[in-house]
């Protein structure tokens, strides 16, 4: 990623957008000098909470037997998370208590990913690693607590010592299990979301700025190449929408799988 931010050799040449372009100037200058002011990213996160909360409360409030359009859309969305992710993965017995978490996670991530697509916002807030870390941490502590509640402190043995492994290689397997489950899992969980959003957005930024440079400033034969980057950029933009929805689904699905793993009777 850093390699994209090549220093400009001269003022006339093309300057690719850098990662720093993802961090826009602060809206409120409070703490701005240390880069910790209230920025667009935080505003969009709070806005997403208001949007999601408003939409679903409005959709659910009437609770009619025969739903109207708004209620139908709300119920359809709620059903998707509740049944396709919650019930199918966690199982009929336990899924109800996790429906709120899965539902909130899915739509929180979905809207925050889609900010990258929505005009004027155009910043997937989950491309800031802090947001991804925070969400993955919530899930991390959730499934550990669920496991301890279900199995007691023996949960850690349950989670790291698989049955049916020969004694000779058991220590190695346990070590691998500890690393993969308790160390790598939250990192991959957060970085998967963060990296796809960041890279997708960088590609679109690159295509956009490249197109602008080629069409406006390039000379001669290079100019028509701008059409190629424009078409490619639009294609990537549409592809990004798919990725944004898909990553919200993947993150929520993995959450359900982790919780199911903590609730399982057998390793």
């Amino acid at each position: 990623m850093i390699a994209l931010a090549l220093p400009a050799s001269n003022d006339e040449g093309f300057v690719a957008p850098t990662l720093e372009d993802m961090h826009l100037p602060e809206i409120l200058p409070w703490g701005a000098e240390s880069g910790e002011g209230f920025g667009k990213q935080m505003l969009l996160i709070l806005l997403s909470v208001i949007l999601i909360g408003w939409f679903f409360v409005a959709a659910a409030r009437k609770g009619q037997m025969v739903p109207g359009r708004l209620q139908f859309l709300g119920e359809w969305s709620y059903n998707f998370v509740r049944n396709s992710i919650g019930r199918d993965i966690i199982g009929e017995k336990d899924f109800r208590s996790f429906t709120p978490l899965l539902f909130a996670l899915f739509f929180f991530i979905l809207i925050n990913n889609l900010w990258g697509t929505i005009p004027l916002a155009q910043l997937p807030t989950t491309s800031h690693v802090g947001t991804a870390y925070a969400l993955a941490a919530i899930v991390y502590f959730t499934w550990i607590i669920v496991g301890i509640r279900k199995h007691g402190l023996g949960y850690f043995k349950f989670a790291t010592v698989p049955s049916g492994v020969p004694m000779a290689i058991l220590p190695l397997v346990v070590l691998i299990e500890i690393i993969s489950t308790f160390l790598v899992r939250p990192i991959t969980h957060s970085l998967r979301l963060f990296a796809t959003m960041l890279s997708g957005h960088l590609i679109i930024m690159l295509a956009g700025s490249g197109t602008a440079f080629l069409l406006l400033e390039a000379e001669g034969l290079l100019k028509p190449l701008g059409a190629l980057t424009l078409v490619g950029g639009v294609a990537m933009f549409l592809f990004e929408v798919l990725i944004q929805v898909l990553q919200a689904y993947v993150f929520t699905l993995l959450t359900a799988i982790y919780i199911q793993g903590s609730l399982a009777e057998e390793h």
């Binding site: 220093p7 909360g53 679903f56 909130a104 800031h128 690693v129």
Partner: protein, 182 residues
């Protein structure tokens, strides 16, 4: 895009180092969203589901009940129809039997009546005949006695004798008659 920003990007912006405020804002935002979802959204949706399920199941039960009621009513009507037919047959049968009975009774009564009338007339005829015989006998006796008295010139005042004579005479007469008839 200037030199300073690019340098900053090269030096400082390790994308894996989080901004602590972004973490806090995310946690806060998500906590608020969770509150809204747990407190309002999920209960309202689940309530609607439960009500809808109940409504549908209630409707099905109601329909089943109506169906059962309808088939029960149909059975009842069929039973009533069968009963009514049986009743009608029975009444017709009874009427026929009664009619036959009445006819037989009337015949018997008529027979008895005619027998009685015949009997009565026999008795009356017999009585009349008897009366006629008695009156005839006394008249004929008187006539014969008078006649005989005239003929024999002999007073037959002695009634006992006269009666004997007359009786004998009449017996003879009857014997003769009987012989003549034979």
């Amino acid at each position: 895009m200037n030199e300073a920003l690019i340098l900053a990007a090269e030096e400082g912006a390790n994308p894996l180092i989080p901004n602590i405020w972004e973490i806090l804002v995310t946690l806060l935002g998500f906590a608020v969203l969770m509150y809204i979802v747990v407190k309002f959204v999920v209960p309202m949706f689940e309530k609607t589901y439960a009500e809808r399920t109940e409504a549908i199941e209630g409707g099905l039960k109601k329909a089943e009940a109506a169906q059962a009621e309808a088939s029960a009513a149909l059975d009842e009507y069929k039973q009533q129809l069968i009963d009514a037919r049986t009743e009608a047959n029975r009444i017709r049968e009874e009427a026929r039997a009664e009619g036959a009975q009445i006819l037989a009774d009337l015949k018997a009564k008529a027979g008895a009546e005619s027998a009685r009338i015949m009997e009565q007339s026999h008795v009356a005829i017999e009585a009349e005949r008897q009366a006629a015989v008695v009156s005839l006998r006394s008249e004929v006796g008187t006539l014969a006695t008078e006649l005989a008295g005239k003929i024999v010139g002999e007073s037959l005042a002695d009634d006992a004798r006269a009666a004997r004579v007359v009786d004998r005479f009449l017996d003879d007469l009857e014997t003769q008659n009987a012989g003549a008839v034979k």
